[in-house]
């Protein structure tokens, strides 16, 4: 039986939802606000909410000191490249797990996910050695490979859950109609799974965009993305909270806008498999 939605209950749940939403959003809001303050006002006690001298100086300084566009471009290449390759690898993998499962499929899925439980720093040394050995340090190619591999389990899992919802009869019909494996995946499975694939791409793009551990440790100048751009303002020589905030705002702005316009897809992606 459905619970009655009384006006009072509705007001309370709405208020709680707003409170949680604001709480989560507050750090981002504070970062954006701080980016418009002077350095002195940024560390003022008590904190200033509105009554300060709004300034664009931080943005000007950040722009002058470092080449934002270069970092942005690297972020786009790294996040986009790793997601794209990940999807191409994951579609056949998820196809086989969803439609021709073996006795070990469940174990393999769990084992894949278990790699996400390992702290990244645990493999920093071996990965760094491999990078040195193969001259991959500070290359986009090397980093795309690492980002793709660390997110692959999630991509496969998400696609697997979406594919499971597609009736196998339809794929079998394609086989009877003369489609080979490539045509079956290209013309039937992929178009039917487009919503799922889109939200998978989106979520992984965001994950790769925000990935900081590997991007900071394996890059220097050439292939550094926006995470490195932010980190360069957190220097031990002094406190530059306002400039750090300006840099952060510039770094998160593209992904924030992307996320805003694709909310619906994202929500479906994040709750994957929860509701059929």
């Amino acid at each position: 039986m459905a619970r009655a939605v009384t006006p009072r209950r509705k007001i309370i749940t709405t208020a709680v939802a707003w409170a949680i939403g604001l709480l989560i959003f507050f750090p981002i809001y504070w970062t954006i606000l701080t980016s418009f303050k002077t350095e002195a006002q940024a560390i003022n006690d008590p904190p200033l909410f509105f009554s300060f001298d709004w300034t664009l100086e931080n943005y000007a300084v950040v722009q002058e000191r470092s080449d934002y566009m270069r970092f942005l471009w690297n972020s786009v290449i790294l996040a986009g490249g790793s997601t794209l390759i990940g999807i191409l690898v994951a579609i056949p993998a998820a196809w086989s797990m969803a439609f021709v499962p073996s006795r070990r499929t469940k174990d393999i899925l769990l084992w894949m996910l278990s790699t996400k439980m390992l702290p990244a720093v645990g493999v920093l040394y071996p990965i760094s050695l491999i990078f040195v050995q193969f001259n991959l340090l500070d290359t986009r190619g090397g980093l795309i490979a690492v980002l793709m591999l660390i997110n692959l389990p999630i991509i496969v899992w998400m696609l697997y859950t979406y594919f499971k919802e597609i009736p196998i009869d339809i794929l079998e019909a394609a086989r009877m109609d003369g489609a080979n494996l490539r045509e079956e995946i290209l013309y039937i499975l992929t178009p039917m799974a487009i919503p799922g694939i889109a939200s998978t791409i989106l979520l992984n793009f965001i994950l790769a965009w925000n990935e900081a551990f590997w991007t900071l440790n394996l890059t220097a100048a050439n292939s550094a993305p926006l995470t490195a751009f932010i980190a360069s303002y957190s220097s031990p020589e002094g406190l530059f909270f306002a400039k750090l905030s300006a840099a952060s705002t510039m770094a998160i702005a593209p992904i924030l806008i992307l996320g805003w316009f694709s909310q619906k897809q994202l929500v479906r992606g994040l709750t994957f498999g929860a509701v059929k």
Binding site: D169, E172, D177, G178, P191
Partner: protein
């Protein structure tokens, strides 16, 4: 062409044997129906012929060529699924054209064939709709259209009518039969409904637990069921099966008599009983009669309207020419 031979075909899923070694020949142009209760392996057998499942042993020969390890796409067979299995993201036109596109036919030829199939199946006005916008019967027609455009060696139907309502089912049954007459292509049709089997088949294959119980024309099966299972499965309403002393009088372990082969009278006859339930269909009346010395109620058909009611006395006389006798193994005694 559409000549299919199954030689010693076996199928196991893990430890479970679904099809024990089985031989079957399907001739070109035949309408063959696989019938049996659910779980009898009839769908698995069809999927083995389609190539959607691999055989565990044996050979499948299609038109003289060993097709045992040929993938489904290259066996030249078309299949109509119970769930229709239309491509939801494509229009009806594209659904029907899909097998032709896969066969790399020319654009003009594809258009011509799709148009022809749509006309035959009354789908011309729906070509630009998506499957989601069609009724069950229309979807079924699209599925059939997708099968016929390829001009396959044989059609495989997997319980194609079970998702339709009763009235539509009778109509589609006729349409499929007409299609068979016109195309003269081999059709293999799986169903659990013996009425579909009786009305459509040239040859019925009765299956139980993966074993072929009997193969024959509908009337052969009706007249000479090889064993108790076929006797009870073919015919509607079911044949009356009677054990005990009455069967012994006829020199058998079990005797079978169809409701339409019993003569009923309110004056006298071989077996006495009382009417329990009567079903009036207008053209026929079926009485369920509780007879002295027979544990199960006996069903009897009486032509037209007969004025007998609950609890009335009735005498039944089986037609000796249509009495089936079975031995202790359940096999027919000649």
């Amino acid at each position: 062409m559409g000549h299919i031979i199954l030689e010693n075909v076996k199928k196991r899923f893990g430890e479970v044997t679904v099809i024990p070694p089985l031989d079957l020949e399907i001739n070109d142009g035949e309408f063959v129906v696989f019938v049996g209760p659910s779980g009898c392996g009839k769908s698995t057998l069809l999927r083995l012929i389609a190539g959607l499942e691999d055989v565990t042993g044996g050979r499948i020969i299609i038109d003289g060529k060993d097709a045992t390890s040929v993938p489904p796409a290259r066996r030249g067979l078309a299949m109509v699924f119970q769930s229709y299995a239309l491509y939801p993201h494509m229009s009806v036109r594209k659904n029907i054209a899909f097998p032709l596109r896969m066969a790399r036919l020319e654009r003009a030829e594809i258009d011509r064939r799709v148009k022809a199939a749509a006309e035959v199946l009354n789908l011309t006005d729906y070509l630009d709709r998506r499957p989601g916008q069609l009724s069950g019967g229309q979807r079924q027609r699209v599925a059939i259209g997708r099968a016929i455009v390829r001009e396959p060696a044989a059609f495989l139907f997997d319980e194609p009518l079970s998702n339709l309502d009763a009235a539509l089912r009778v109509g589609m049954r006729l349409e499929i039969s007409e299609l068979h007459k016109r195309l003269e292509t081999t059709m293999i049709y799986v169903t659990h409904d013996q009425v579909e089997a009786m009305t459509m088949a040239d040859k019925i294959v009765v299956l139980r637990a993966g074993n072929i119980e009997q193969v024959g024309s509908p009337l052969e099966l009706y007249r000479n069921p090889r064993n108790l299972f076929v006797a009870g499965f073919i015919g509607s309403p079911k044949m009356n099966l009677i054990n005990g002393s009455i069967a012994a009088q006829h020199g058998a372990e079990t005797i079978g008599i169809r409701p339409e082969h019993i003569f009923a009278s309110s004056e006298g006859g071989e077996w006495h009983g009382k009417v329990s339930v009567s079903e009036h269909l207008g053209s026929d009346t079926f009485f369920h009669v509780t007879c002295d010395g027979i544990p199960e109620p006996v069903t009897v058909r009486v032509g037209g309207e007969v004025d007998l009611h609950y609890g009335d006395d009735i005498w039944l006389t089986p037609d000796p020419n249509h009495l089936h006798r079975f031995d202790t193994q359940g096999l027919r005694v000649a």
